[in-house]
């Protein structure tokens, strides 16, 4: 029933001087899973990855791959490979030598190396480019060489350290799609580290959100987005409108919160309301409706429409509430609402209690 765990990390701790980069972090990755660690710079995600690879030595904790503890193993004996952010392709070697590097280091016979390298080059659509020097390749081609170099070794876990860097959006998009497609076809187990929300949401089977060395939440993209367990996760993974408030009443999971914009309701599944008084009331912009249709929703607030921004596939509205807070409303696709003529006039915004979020202040 249970899919076996490929990687089990428990109590991982790593300090640099007085800074605790990774603080008692524990998580599991299942076989074939695409696991993404996301968080701001300095949250410990890269350090955690490097500990799994062996490039950093943890101060404490255990790291088990397919059941065996690899903490005492030197890097080259671990069955992992890293695709680096800056790719780190060997500049003094051509494509073939780069991709065959691991196999050569392991002493594989020449004909096997040729066969496997040809196969993986075909897989990443770099057929026939074995003889090229790295400097002759485009950015996208280089990224595929880096992927090939690691894929050819068929490691137990494929590690990615923010591999899709500052390339143009179109290239990034293509790389994301290719990585996702390769994962679908090959089914490898991946540990992918990034700070980019879009990459995480698109690639991950499960996401782990980290902040200042600790885990904030682990869950599927849907779980962490719709059901963030902390304010940090809610803010990090998408836009968020926030209001300070006080708990007024709690009945059957329906929590009434007094805010500067009025009394608002939220579906308090985690029953925060019973334990704290001061809370932060939140609603995501894309859940906020605007205009006459908003009046039918559980929570309505009036404000002045100050800005409308056309973003291509969506329109964003900025509404100033009577307590001065600016709320954003995003309408997309078929629900696009054009209120260009209403700027500087009062409008109504609204949302369902089920869509709002509440966190202790």
């Amino acid at each position: 029933m249970d899919v076996p765990s490929k990687l089990v990390v428990q109590g991982l701790t790593k300090r640099f001087g007085r800074v605790v980069a990774v603080n008692e972090v524990s998580f599991e990755i299942r076989e074939g899973e695409f696991f993404v660690i996301i968080g701001p710079s300095g949250c410990g995600k890269t350090t955690s990855l490097r500990c799994v690879a062996g490039l950093e030595t943890p101060d404490s904790g255990s790291i088990r791959v397919s059941g065996s503890d690899i903490r005492s193993m030197p890097v080259y004996k671990r069955d992992v490979c890293i695709v680096f952010q800056d790719l780190a392709l060997f500049p003094h070697m051509n494509v073939f030598d780069n991709v065959s590097f691991g196999l050569r280091m392991m002493g594989s016979p020449k004909d096997r190396i040729e066969k496997e390298v040809d196969e993986v080059l075909r897989l990443v659509q770099l057929e026939g480019l074995g003889g090229r020097r790295i400097t002759e390749l485009s950015g996208g081609q280089r990224q595929r060489v880096a992927l090939a170099r690691s894929l050819v070794l068929k490691p137990s876990i494929l590690l990615f350290d923010e591999p899709i860097g500052g390339a143009e959006p179109e290239l990034r998009d293509r790389m994301l799609a290719e990585i996702k497609e390769l994962h679908r076809r090959l089914g490898f187990t991946a540990l992918y580290v990034t700070h980019d929300q879009e990459q995480a949401m698109r690639l991950a089977d499960r996401i782990m959100v980290m902040n200042q060395g600790s885990i904030e939440q682990i869950g599927t993209p849907e779980e962490v987005y719709l059901n963030p367990s902390t304010l940090f996760v809610a803010r990090f993974l998408g836009g968020l409108n926030m209001l300070d408030g006080e708990v007024a009443s709690l009945k059957d999971d329906l929590l009434m919160v007094k805010t500067g914009a009025g009394d608002l309701a939220v579906n308090d599944r985690r029953k925060i309301g019973a334990k704290v008084k001061r809370v932060i009331y939140c609603i995501r912009p894309e859940k906020v409706s605007i205009g006459e249709q908003a009046r039918k929703l559980d929570n309505t607030v009036e404000g002045k429409l100050v800005d409308q921004t056309y973003k291509g596939s969506s329109i964003e509205h900025v509404v100033h509430l009577k307590n001065g807070v600016a709320f954003r409303s995003v309408s997309e696709g078929r629900d696009l609402v054009d209120l260009g003529s209403y700027i500087d006039r009062d409008v109504v915004i609204g949302w369902k209690s089920n869509d709002s979020l509440v966190f202790p202040a």
């Binding site: 080259y76 890293i82 780190a88 280091m105």
Partner: protein
């Protein structure tokens, strides 16, 4: 600016050119005008056992110093990339060898070798003394020229099944090989022409060439054999420096790599 540079080049190279030209003179020494072309002084110096012996010693010593310098400065430069306890004091201590007054270095080495360890003077004593001086130069050249991505390439190698030795031979060494050649050329040139430190620790028979020249020329006037010898050494040294400089420039100029 051009005049300034021209002036410096003039001051440095005219005496050398003068010496080179007169090494081919038919008559001994500086009898103007220049008489005619002759290789007699070259054959004289080749047949002078004292001079040849010194030249041999100089070359062997310079070679040893070069090997030691490259090995020590390379391993130190690689090691200094990581922070470790006493990282900075260690670095400054090595730099000291460059700043330390040459005569004092030579003298103290002489005392330590003869009095403390009872080692007779030889090319090895000269080599060990000169290495103290050349290693910091090599170290600085390497540290300035190391590719900042070198560590990343090594990590990539390690995470693709290469143990430490394989990382060194397949990735690190090929990427620093050119810089090591440059260090070797500079070290060789420096060691070959050095006199201040060598004076103290040179063997008495067949001392280092510059030492021999210095002591000889104090007592008797130079014969043109010395010009011939000087020409050979100048040509070799200049070539080494030019080659080393050219390699550095081709690989990215004399500016410090970011």
């Amino acid at each position: 600016m051009a005049a300034y540079i021209g002036g410096i080049l003039f001051l440095v190279y005219v005496p050398i050119a003068h010496m080179i030209v007169f090494s081919f003179n038919t008559l001994p020494l500086l009898y103007y005008p220049f008489q005619g072309w002759s290789l007699q002084w070259y054959s004289a110096f080749v047949n002078d056992p004292e001079l040849i012996g010194s030249l041999e010693n100089s070359i062997i010593q310079a070679a040893i110093t070069t090997v030691v310098t490259v090995a020590v400065s390379a391993s130190t430069a690689l090691a200094l990339r990581r922070r470790f306890p006493l990282h900075d004091p260690f670095f400054y201590m090595i730099l000291l060898g460059m700043i330390y007054p040459g005569v004092t270095l030579g003298l103290t080495n002489l005392v330590v070798d003869i009095r403390v360890f009872n080692i007779p003077l030889s090319i090895w004593t000269v080599s060990s003394t000169l290495s103290v001086w050349t290693v910091p130069f090599g170290l600085l050249i390497l540290m300035m020229r190391f590719d900042p991505y070198l560590t990343r390439y090594e990590e990539a190698a390690r995470t693709h099944r290469a143990n430490e030795w394989k990382v060194f031979t397949n990735v690190t060494f090929p990427l620093i090989r050119t810089e090591l050649i440059v260090v070797a050329l500079f070290a060789f040139t420096m060691a070959l022409g050095e006199v201040f430190r060598s004076t103290f620790v040179s063997p008495l028979t067949n001392p280092e060439l510059p030492v021999l020249l210095l002591s000889t020329l104090e007592t008797k006037p130079p014969t043109p054999e010395y010009f011939a010898l000087g020409t050979v050494i100048s040509v070799v040294s200049l070539s080494a420096i030019l080659i080393g400089g050219a390699i550095l420039v081709r690989r990215g100029g004399f500016v410090v790599k970011r």
